[in-house]
Symmetry: C2
Subunit: 154 residues, 2 copies
């Protein structure tokens, strides 16, 4: 993901987004945000909490939830909710879709092909589409590889 940027650039983006709405770039918010960027794929609030706690032992889980919700509000982070269970968070602000692996239950980002934009018009008259997401499901490359070793197929 890495979302283009040095630590400074990242901090910059955060501060900018927060200040737009008069919110403070507190140490907790900064750390939660960088932890989200550092964590490979779509962590839960709990997972972010664990990571942040390592160098901010006093942070509370409620604060992590607060921070993440704040980021969602200012459009810096997306919630990813495709299955029962904990909500996952995604700091990739590029337009993209998601692939959910049935086997390992990991979620991958899929860059949006420009052609998919026209999908917004395939909705019955009267609906206003402001955004959309495609959720693909199936087998990710890793799980596919594991499978073919042991015969079975999709």
């Amino acid at each position: 993901m890495k979302n283009s940027g040095s630590v400074e650039a990242v901090e910059g983006r955060l501060c900018e987004c927060l200040s737009k709405t008069g919110l403070r770039p507190t140490p907790q918010r900064q750390r939660v945000y960088t932890a989200l960027l550092e964590t490979p794929a779509h962590p839960t609030a709990e997972e972010v909490f664990m990571r942040v706690k390592q160098d901010m032992p006093d942070i509370s889980l409620a604060t992590v939830y607060n921070c993440l919700d704040t980021f969602v509000q200012c459009g810096l982070v997306r919630q990813v909710v495709h299955e029962r269970g904990a909500t996952r968070y995604c700091a990739n602000t590029e337009e993209h879709h998601h692939f959910y692996c049935d086997e390992c239950h990991r979620t991958y980002d899929i860059p949006a092909a420009s052609s998919t934009r026209r999908l917004a018009f395939e909705v019955p008259a009267g609906f206003v589409v402001r955004r959309f997401e495609i959720v693909f499901q199936g087998l990710c490359p890793k799980c596919l590889a594991n499978r073919s070793e042991s015969a079975e197929y999709p």
Copy 2:
């Protein structure tokens, strides 16, 4: 939704699906299934429970969850999980997508245009797409109408 059919046809479909896996078409399962069909749009387990309870006062919420999960297993019902909060259930087995209204938080079914099938190929090499769903978000016709009365716009 109505998913094509008289009460008999509906019961028939249910029994058929259940028996494939050696499951029994109990009164509870039948009632939960018809309640799901009767309820306008994507009810939660709780909502189905309320409805069924009216003519089956002894049914328990746990049984409703069990029934719904059973249906999901035999492919008769889909879970719809797009937001934090209760899981919703959808008895429409036609290929379709969903529209989620930001304002009234209702979910609508959107029939799949045949052209969308090729989306499955817009995923990086190595992923096997078994199915996908498009989740549209925006304003539904009702909420749009309410809005235009009071000036604002999307």
